[in-house]
């Protein structure tokens, strides 16, 4: 997904985030949904942030889709999204976890624990 079939990308990914790949607060997963908020875009936003907002102008996308469209690794988009969420320009929502059957063992242990508390 890096770049086009034509060759190696000229602009490395770390330039998008200024070298950062961590965001202190936001826990974003690959399938987290990103959506633009209603806030107007302020001036002086770095180009990569603007590019992400542009991609989302048409509607919500998962983080990994946005990364593919921006031709950036997911870790870079996670930082961009985190910074935009901090500025209330973006809304991120955790992916819907696939439905699972409850673990009967766990339920049983919880029930046992509750009963033990009661006594």
């Amino acid at each position: 997904m890096t770049g086009r079939p034509g060759g190696r990308p000229l602009v490395p990914a770390y330039l998008a985030t200024g070298g950062a790949a961590r965001h202190p607060r936001l826990r974003l997963e690959r399938l987290s949904l990103l959506r633009r908020s209603d806030r107007a875009v302020p001036d002086g936003l770095p180009p990569a942030h603007l590019a992400l907002l542009d991609e989302l102008a048409e509607g919500a996308l998962t983080a990994v889709e946005a990364a593919a469209l921006l031709r950036l690794p997911f870790s870079a988009v996670r930082v961009l999204a985190g910074e935009l969420v901090d500025q209330d320009l973006l809304v991120a929502r955790a992916p819907i976890p696939p439905a699972e059957r409850f673990d009967p063992d766990l339920l049983k242990r919880v029930a046992d624990g509750l009963r033990a508390l009661k006594h």
């Binding site: 770390y14 590019a51 907002l53 542009d54 102008a57 048409e58 593919a68 996670r78």
Partner: protein, 511 residues
């Protein structure tokens, strides 16, 4: 009787006379001899003197003049002393001695060039290998960046990628100085990408501010991409190195009459007129480069720029003083090295600065999109923002609006290139008519569809409905086209890989 004494007397007289004559001659001869002896003594002394003078002249040549002449080749300020006796100058001896010096100079210079060429060849070979290895490392690092999400690991990978870029720059510059090819073939690329790429190769890239005033889509022909990136990186490196860490280095990209100008301004210490002259001589690239001229440690940046400007018909000027007090370096890319890329089909890298000329069409869309959201009743995005059960459903449901037009783009089989624009223009026509962009380029996106409604009168109901109608129309057209395409494909129309490549790409850009 008388005759005898007469005879005797006569004989005696004759004898005396002849004795006298002989004696005089002898005396004369002796005097001459002594004079000649004195003369020859004088001459011998003179000869000894001359020999001594000649010897000391040769000694002087060997001990003083030859070393000085040899040194003067490397250090032009060294003065070569004249002959010991000033009057020798101009005489055959003087000319012969000068001939010796001249012969030495010529031979030394030739030797110098040969040795340097050998050193360059050695270094070229080594750096070439290193460069190739670093490119392989880069591929590996970028593969890992795509693969792993862990923030700590990703952070380290970014750092490694940056370190790798810097090493790569050094290896590449050394190779270029030694007369090697830039080492990487690139495809036609946006000029701003080349400049941003050059910026990314430096340790202090965060201090660089790029101002992009070019028409969107201004690009470089393939063989000029890497040289421009290298030159920009080296100019920026110089600027960053010679300015204080709390100042910015400004880069501006502008159109000029003969092409495009990349101007690098720093607010650093500047150069003295000597340094400026030397730098200008190096970047002009008119003289062959000798490694020994580059100093220790060798300063390769300017020399590499010189090599590239000569090979690729670029021109660099560092002779001006920046208005910020530092150096202003100007790279001029001539018209014949420029080309155009459609920015809608192949947008520049996400982290490349936006063109200021894009503002009218592009930023307009960005700035006005959020206000339109609430205004048209949050039509396109509402479902996503709604209660928890909605997202999975609506997100899945969105593609009909979003994705349906894309299907025909992928499927449009025989028509290839033509299929896509046709479709897009049908899709976009309404907003295009509604919003006159004054011939400025604009992306083919759905955003303009929303902004296109903006200038229209604002009765609530029709406006809320409008995007729906546009989308429905698009979906209907898309469905029709995809059905036709499917039928054609079923009918056995060839689906070449080339087509699918293209449409993939197109789909990515136009979505």
């Amino acid at each position: 009787m008388i005759e005898i004494p007469d005879l005797v007397a006569g004989g005696l007289a004759a004898g005396t006379l002849s004795a006298l004559a002989l004696g005089g001659g002898l005396l004369h001869a002796r005097r001459q001899l002594s004079r000649q002896r004195a003369e020859s003594d004088a001459l011998r002394r003179q000869l000894d003197e001359a020999t001594r003078a000649f010897t000391s002249e040769i000694e002087h040549l060997a001990s003083r003049r030859l070393p000085a002449a040899a040194r003067a080749l490397a250090h032009p300020h060294v003065v070569v002393p004249g002959p010991l006796a000033p009057e020798t100058t101009g005489t055959p001896l003087g000319r012969a001695l000068d001939g010796v010096l001249q012969g030495l100079r010529v031979e030394l210079a030739a030797q110098h060039v040969r040795v340097d060429a050998a050193a360059q060849a050695g270094m070229r070979g080594a750096t070439r290998e290193i460069q190739a290895a670093l490119y392989r490392l880069q591929d590996a690092l970028r593969g890992l960046q795509q693969q792993y999400d862990d923030p700590e690991l990703a952070h380290t990978l970014f750092q490694l990628d940056h370190e790798n870029e810097q090493s790569l720059r050094r290896a590449q510059v050394a190779a270029v100085v030694c007369g090697a090819w830039v080492g990487l073939a690139r495809e036609e690329s946006h000029l701003v990408d080349a400049v941003t790429g050059g910026q990314a190769r430096l340790a202090g890239y965060r201090r660089v501010a790029v101002h992009h005033h070019l028409r969107p889509g201004t690009a470089l022909v393939s063989h000029a991409v890497e040289p421009v990136a290298i030159i920009t990186a080296e100019l920026l490196d110089n600027a960053l190195r010679h300015s204080s860490p709390d100042t910015e280095v400004l880069v501006s990209l502008e159109h000029v009459h003969h092409g495009v100008c990349v101007t690098v301004d720093d607010a650093g210490v500047g150069m003295t007129s000597d340094e400026r002259e030397r730098a200008q001589r190096l970047v002009a690239g008119r003289e062959p480069i000798l490694l020994t001229d580059l100093g220790d440690p060798p300063r390769m940046g300017l020399a590499a720029i010189g090599q590239l400007t000569r090979q690729f018909d670029l021109s660099v000027d560092v002779s001006t003083i920046s208005p910020y007090g530092g150096v202003r370096a100007v790279l001029l890319v001539a018209e014949h090295l420029l080309s155009r890329i459609d920015p809608t089909e192949r947008p520049p890298a996400a982290s490349a600065p936006r063109s200021t000329r894009e503002t009218v069409s592009e930023r307009y869309a960005v700035d006005t999109a959020p206000p339109t959201g609430p205004a048209d009743g949050r039509t396109p995005q509402t479902p996503v923002g709604d209660p928890p059960d909605a997202p999975a459903h609506t997100y899945g449901a969105e593609p009909p609006g979003n994705g349906a037009p894309r299907v025909p783009a992928h499927a449009a089989p025989g028509t290839g290139v033509r299929g896509v624009p046709e479709h897009d223009s049908a899709y976009d026509s309404a907003p295009d008519d509604a919003l006159d962009t004054g011939g400025l380029p604009r992306r083919r996106r759905r955003t303009p569809a929303a902004t296109g409604q903006e200038p229209a009168p604002r009765p609530a109901a029709p406006q809320a409905a409008a995007p729906h109608r546009a989308e429905q129309a698009a979906a209907a057209l898309g469905a029709l086209q995809s059905a036709t395409a499917a039928a054609r494909a079923a009918g056995g129309a060839a689906h070449t890989p080339n087509d699918s490549d293209h449409t993939d790409h197109e789909g990515g850009a136009a979505r």
